[in-house]
Symmetry: C2
Subunit: 417 residues, 2 copies
């Protein structure tokens, strides 16, 4: 299990040299992590502000949704002819870290930004952290090339770009620190990447804050007591959330593989996706499932949402992401989890806002296969409330989501059970 | 880096079989984790209650300290003639998980309990979580033999025994879940052990609570604001805490290797250790550094402690543990960190209780090389207050503690930097 790993004990050099190496390496990681953090924090600010603006434009001009198929064609065109292989997005970044072959195209960052803007302006159901992460990876790659870092270090630097993107996109530097390391390899966390990831995540978060970014906040009104009954309820709920995370990942993968089979042309594929989304919007007579859908996430914490809101969001997002639109899947996962939690409040006697929060965090934990990141996110988002329940929920949802997940390129080093 | 690991994707069997395997394995892990949790939670309760009682006896009978050298002889005798190799304690458990050779002697648990009781009754400077952890490992080994688990599973089961011991000893089931996995292998976290560790840690914690155990609480009066100055202060402090954690680990290792060289006989070694501790106690004219020393830890949060209390505790504990007395090192590390934090409050303008808490957590993070566990512990102990500072402190102390640590058998899979 462990014998074929390199054990550094045997190769530790003499003390003096060791300390000088330690401080040189530390200095480099802090420097690079900071540079990446400053740049990524700034680009994330641009992303967040412009996205918010475009969402406002969309809401003021309802007709824009009819341009969604056209937007799909543009996105398809961009990735077909100018993407240099970057259309695999997050999966490409993960694969690169595993195999280290080839280069991450620098165009990936700007490309995903433009396509995310188009998607948001025209109403695709998506988030934005995917864009922040891919931009982070592109920026790290630029730093790589600038400083001519060697191959192993390059991977670590890319991880730190991911951390910066996540930390600044969510205002969650703790979760950002761990996300890259945890997402890349389930079951094997690479602590040696800790320093640059930590620096980059915190720096990018504070840079974004310095630029004036304010993140969405959600509040748990009442935290239930820890007792046998409530623990059992949380366990049961977490299993449901874990299974729903599978439902989402599988829907998205299915739509993608159907498209790969029957709609090979990326432009036509996204065009069809756009048409279907318009049809669905008019079929259910609601625009609540377009864009990030934050108003309904808020409503899930404060009031009541339609019973099947979570299902609608699964369908809308799976189609949006499965046919090639861009953005990110975490916010949609929050939406799915929070609304499902809200719906379940009719069955389970627990405070609604607590159920919404629990759903939000655990659907993310299961779908992204990142229980520690999800837990840290809960600590940051809910200011350390209900930590025990969140911890349980993240672990259980992670376990029950099995080997399914939104990142196809994740490597599972040890079966979960 | 990753290519020589087994990638389970290639060996995933057909869907139906996969699910049945999943549920069978899950059921087994939950069952075994629960059994271990129930037993370990109960033995930890015994440990905690009896220890508290013996500490009271010691405080009411100051002359008992003169029996410390005699106690040392008894402990030395027990390990020499009845220990079956278990005198390496925690390190033995860690080594067993790495190499999987031989068996963990079942006697280890009862042995460490008895010796911890002797140490506490007579005034050695020690904690008790080492005893809880080794008892956990012994109990897991019994379950192993009872159920005839295969070799890989055995290691996981032992990890879950460690988790149960930690979770119940500190009333910290979150930290307990991760501790075993993180402590055993720095830089490589074995997620496949997550389920039994999680179950065992929570079950043992709640079993101990059901038996009436109440854990020590410490309160941060004021949490400083997050701003540039305070962040820089916390970074600087964490580096100091990280270096102090090295000071402790190295002192203990030094005393141990000196003893190995000059005091080969375990009875004579502990006898000498006892004499030195008596001499030191009368030299400084204080009994504050004997036993767990909780009153002074409390004082570090609420008032003022002697400037060099941290140094005295380092010396007392290094001698106690280095000459073969038993207990645990986490509470002494808390003591060292909290009193150092208190001392530093004269130099750094931050609330005293906050500094004590920060020191407590970061010295532990550095000495045990377990940043995530230490962070989770801070979340549990301080109810989610000041999480950002604690996270920073754990990471930085971990980084600066280098390859030093209290567990000699820890495996470092990747250099930290």
């Amino acid at each position: 299990m462990s014998s074929n790993n390199n054990d550094s004990n045997s190769t530790i050099p003499a003390t003096k040299e060791r300390y000088s190496t330690f401080f040189t390496t530390l200095f480099c990681w802090v420097l690079w992590g900071s540079i990446i953090g400053i740049v990524v924090g700034s680009t994330s600010t641009l992303l967040i502000n412009l996205n918010d603006y475009l969402t406002e434009v969309r809401q003021n001009n309802p007709y824009l949704i009819f341009f969604l198929p056209l937007g799909g064609i543009i996105i398809g065109y961009l990735y077909m002819y100018h993407g240099k292989g970057s259309r695999k997005g997050n999966d490409m970044v993960l694969e690169h870290i595993h195999h280290g072959q080839g280069k991450i195209p620098l165009i990936m960052g700007p490309m995903v930004f433009v396509c995310t803007f188009i998607t948001h302006l025209l109403g695709g159901s998506t988030g934005r952290e995917g864009a922040a992460i891919q931009m982070g990876a592109s920026i790290s790659e630029s730093v790589n090339r600038l400083f001519k870092v060697n191959k192993i270090d390059r991977k670590i630097l890319i991880l730190s770009g991911i951390s910066g993107g996540f930390g600044s996109a969510f205002g969650a530097p703790l979760a950002g620190t761990i996300f890259g390391m945890e997402a890349v390899m389930i079951g094997k966390t690479r602590y040696e990447a800790l320093i640059p990831c930590f620096v980059s995540s915190f720096v990018s978060h504070y840079v974004a804050e310095a630029w004036g970014i304010q993140h969405d906040t959600f509040t748990i009104q009442t935290v239930p007591q820890i007792n046998g009954i409530n623990v059992l309820k949380v366990i049961g709920l977490s299993i449901i959330f874990g299974l729903i995370s599978i439902a989402y990942s599988q829907s998205r993968h299915e739509i993608k593989s159907l498209s790969d089979k029957y709609l090979k042309n990326l432009m036509f594929r996204a065009f069809v996706g756009g048409i279907v989304l318009i049809a669905l919007t008019y079929l259910i007579g609601s625009r609540d499932y377009l864009g990030r859908g934050l108003p309904m996430v808020n409503q899930a914490f404060e009031g009541q949402v339609p019973y099947f809101a979570f299902l609608a969001k699964i369908v809308f997002t799976a189609i949006t992401m499965g046919t090639g639109f861009r953005g990110g899947e975490v916010i949609p996962l929050f939406f799915i989890g929070a609304t499902l939690g809200n719906t379940l409040s009719f069955l389970v006697n627990l405070p609604t806002s607590f159920l919404a929060a629990l759903g939000m965090i655990s659907v993310f934990a299961g779908a992204a296969n990142t229980p520690i990141t999800a837990f840290l996110l809960s600590v940051e988002m809910f200011h350390g409330e209900a930590v025990t329940f969140f911890f349980m929920a993240c672990m259980i949802s992670f376990i029950f989501s099995g080997h399914h997940g939104i990142y196809a390129a994740q490597k599972i080093f040890e079966p979960k059970s």
